[in-house]
Amino acid sequence: MKRSDFPHLGFGVGLRRPHYKLIVETHPKVDWFEVISENFMVEGGHALEVLEAVREHYPIAMHGVSMSLGSTDPLNRSYLRRLRDLARRFEPAWISDHLCWTGVGGRNLHDLIPLPYTEEAIRHVAARIRRVNETLERPILIENVSSYMAFADSTMTEWEFISAIAEEADCGILLDINNIFVSAFNHRFDANDYIDAVQVERVVQFHLAGHSDHGTYLLDTHDHPIRDEVWALYERAARRFGEVATLVEWDDNIPEFAVLADAAERARGIFNTVTIEHDSRSRDGRSPEATGKHPLSADHRS
């Protein structure tokens, strides 16, 4: 699996209930939408009507919160079949979920609990992702989570862990820039090291979001504007990874749609700037690592 196996969607925002009406009625200028898969794994009703209407005008990606890839419970086959059926109906550009576990013993915590970074966990999770890829008929993307605890048994860094799993499972990576920032603070590592280490060809999507500061730790709440430090980290990522679909998430205290669209445009501006820098450096004979080819206009739409 490599990034070029997937379309480049440009700069999008998460599809959330307060914006349904505006999006369906006015088709605002944004490249694509990411939907929370579980919100649409229902038999019928308004949510699916909205998604039909949105899909007519925009590409989408499906982002899940309940695959529980790291759980030691058996994979939930019923859940995966429903997800596959939803994907067959709405044809997302890709399906993603988190590198974590969400429950065990048949119980669900409805939270993204981190894993110990061990060889045992790599083997366990990679084998499960391969089975998921078969069921969903495509390679999924796995996302790094924000974490508030680290494990005594971990034998490697988080970026080594996610890279090893992506390699062994042959899946893509959804790199959440805010989550890197949050976890870097919570566990005292350098976020730049993370950005600089992940394999370029595995990263298919970025997430950008806000978080809240609790003094002794940062919490990934998706209820604030994206902080300047996260934007700076995004710029570093854009420079290194090049043309990667970027998505702005906002899940609580959701503002007007224009605020999210503006954030997506800011990301586009950053990407275009570093791409131009890259092109001019290339003409000087230098060979930067970034793979961006051309600035994306605001009218880009798959």
Binding site: H46, I113, P116, M149
Partner: protein, 301 residues
Amino acid sequence: MAVRLKQLESILYRLITAVSGVAEGLAAESRMPAGGLDAIVRGDDRLSAEDRVDIYANMYFYRLLDVLKEDFPATLRILGDDNFHNLATGYLLEYPPTEPSVLYCGRRLADFIRDHPPRNDAPYLADLAALERAVVEVFHGPDAPVLEPDRLRAIAPKKWPALKLRTHPAVQILRLEWRVAELLRAVEERREWKPADAGVVEVIVWRQGARVFYRELEKVEERAIAGACNGVTFAKICDLVAADHDPARDPVAELNRLLARWLGDGILTNASRLSGGRARRSRNIRRARPDDLWNARGYKS
């Protein structure tokens, strides 16, 4: 010695869901490795290992509390924040989430309230919660074309007696012992509410587009609607209305009035689906069963 992944997840699950917090969970934990929690989770000068697990414990409870508050606004209003908090605590202990979506988090709350009546003067609370849950489920219930009046009128009158009428598959009918529909409406419309009166009623819950509606069924339509849930013939519906109508009223006028109301509310499915086939289930009268809900309906994630 390394803690195996399965053991680690099991311990963390118990600590995160411990009803009075991680400290209590630690005191009760019998499978902790030598070295205690510090042998599993790294603490530092900012946050101890226990503090760090506590972050997840708080998120677990308050996320689910928020889901329950959103799904049961009237139950919350009647109980108040503190009592609802206590209700959620007990409920999640007895019915911890088992499904991949929080859509199903509140599916047994009415049962829990019925089994553990609150210590206040709200004996109707379980019925109220059942109605609120039905609203959530109907919102995400199955799709089917609604029977439009013009479509029905286009069918030749001589075919009507054999025509099968069927309720929309998202429709639910609740048999309740308290008249809670008006109470829920008052809360939804932010009006003053009055305690529900006792009285066995059937309440129909249906949707039109993005809105869910509910009302008490009239006695004259209870058996007719029950028949429509099974997909009985129009002739049978006529018989049921004729048998149950108020003798002071004209049965034909009653039937016309009810049919117009059902069509106007959009609770019947399209005529093209009425000509054959079996009903989805014997009757849409609902008492939540945990094993069928993932295959049925849901709400938010």
